[in-house]
Assembly symmetry: C2
Homo-oligomer: 300 residues x 2
């Protein structure tokens, strides 16, 4: 793929029925976007699809995916451990190459308006596309979830969507559409099943409690493996790189007398993020991305 490239990583409120998820993915693919990955979680009852392409193809694919999800998902009977507001819950557009955040904001606005106009599903704009400061953070927009927001929106003007009125869609709720930077989902698994230690480490590294900038973190238990995990989102890996996050977690774990079992990246990671880790670990004095054979070859 050459030319301008953006990514879309919608989260749909269906993680148990492979047929429904497959139909949504098929709708996305039908618009010519390249589907890079897909994960479904039955406990969360939620699926994440990653696709990329030219901004126009990605916009059309996102719309088709949302439309299919609105057809297939009924939030009145949906249950899962992950909070959600809509059938197509979150639809972020991410600049990848030769595309700016402004380009992604424009796509988010266009798709937000169209979802409301053609599907009757209200839309909140979030992150870089937010029109009000209290809608930048996803957590703030989603507070109360489907069941809470559909009541509150009727009486509280502050909760009225950016596209749509004082009424959510009866089965599909509302969608949260926006533009954001590439996000790296990075989990560190601890050599303990004590989830309180994972929570304590999460508190010490996350930005919201005075830890590392651009890091969201929570402690969870991986019941199937008997391991506690520090589950993180790195929302600006250039500013707070992977190795700094890993080192902070490992140091805090050591302080609490717990070892590291390993780590995992969920979804995709930009090449630059891994180059940063190598550069830091080897203490390279002269590293430039042009020193990487394949990067250099791409210039020809």
């Amino acid at each position: 793929m050459t030319g301008a490239l953006i990514e879309c990583v919608p989260n749909f409120s269906e993680g148990r029925d492979p047929e429904k998820v497959g139909a949504i993915v098929e709708a996305i693919r039908s618009a010519g976007a390249a589907v890079l990955g897909q994960t479904s979680d039955p406990d969360h009852n939620r699926s994440v699809v990653t696709f990329a392409g030219h901004p126009d193809a990605v916009a059309e694919a996102a719309f088709r995916g949302v439309a299919r999800a609105v057809d297939l998902i009924d939030l009145r009977t949906h249950h899962g451990v992950h909070p959600r507001l809509g059938a197509a819950d979150v639809v972020p557009f991410v600049p990848v190459r030769e595309a700016s955040m402004q380009d992604c904001i424009r796509v988010a606005e266009r798709i937000g308006e169209r979802v409301w106009r053609e599907l009757g599903v209200p839309v909140y704009l979030y992150e870089a596309a937010a029109r009000r400061p209290d809608r930048v953070r996803l957590e703030d927009v989603r507070r109360g979830q489907f069941e809470g927001v559909r009541e509150e929106v009727r009486t509280n003007p502050a909760r009225v969507p950016d596209f749509g009125g004082a009424e959510l869609h009866p089965t599909a709720g509302a969608s949260i559409v926006g533009a954001r930077n590439f996000l790296v989902a990075f989990n560190v698994n601890l050599a303990t099943s004590d989830v309180s230690i994972a929570r304590q480490i999460a508190r010490s590294v996350r930005a919201s409690s005075g830890g590392l900038p651009h890091v969201k973190a929570m402690g969870v238990l991986l019941a199937s493996r008997g391991l506690a995990q520090v589950s993180m989102n790195l929302t600006d890996f250039e500013t707070t790189p992977l190795h700094r996050v890993y080192t902070a977690v490992a140091q805090e774990a050591a302080r609490l007398g717990v070892g590291i079992a390993g780590s995992e990246i969920i979804g995709l990671v930009p090449r630059r993020a891994l180059e940063q880790v190598a550069e830091a670990f080897l203490r390279l004095e002269n590293f430039r991305t042009g020193m990487v054979l394949e990067n250099r070859l791409e210039q020809f």
Copy 2:
């Protein structure tokens, strides 16, 4: 660039006259090869050019570069701290993508034969292209250098080139042409000017004295920076990865009470080598190269 791709990294015995080096690089470029890098060292009096392309273009480019070097360089008046046997001293071909070592051996044989036939410069085949076990190692082929070999070849049949007879070229000596794996040149700088410590570390990490496999190492002094350096070649970075080499050097340095000032990669490094470092440092459990955004995009 798409399709079969090989690289050539010839070493020429001229590192002081930019005009001569420029003319050699121009000859290489004229055959349609992509010149990826070039470094000249006045103390070594030697230049390294890195270029890549389709095997046929790279073969033609290598021949033109050798021909130009044979025209321009007179070894009778050449002096430098680096050992050398020929004007075009070493010409290795390296498989990069959709090309095998066998492909590179064939190119080496073809160019070796042509350099002798058209330029009258004898050729030794080395590394994977060697026809005798005592010519696998570059050091063995070059032992005695230009001045020594031109005498010895007349009386010792074991030194007679693979292409050519018992006489070196009067001004261009002989060329050592072969095929090898990608080599990573990796130097670790020590926080000391005591070169004996660098030499001791080099001895402890290099394969030839029982250290890490596929590592060549020597201790040198960076006079201009007042730092001792462990200067290494990693001839099989998949088997002995960068992070293992760095860790071994750092541990030995710590044992000797010396810190690490930093490290440097000379020339190019394959993407996979950096991914390995990141994977090891972060202790990633689930890493696949397909998780790298750009790698994934290339599949579309």
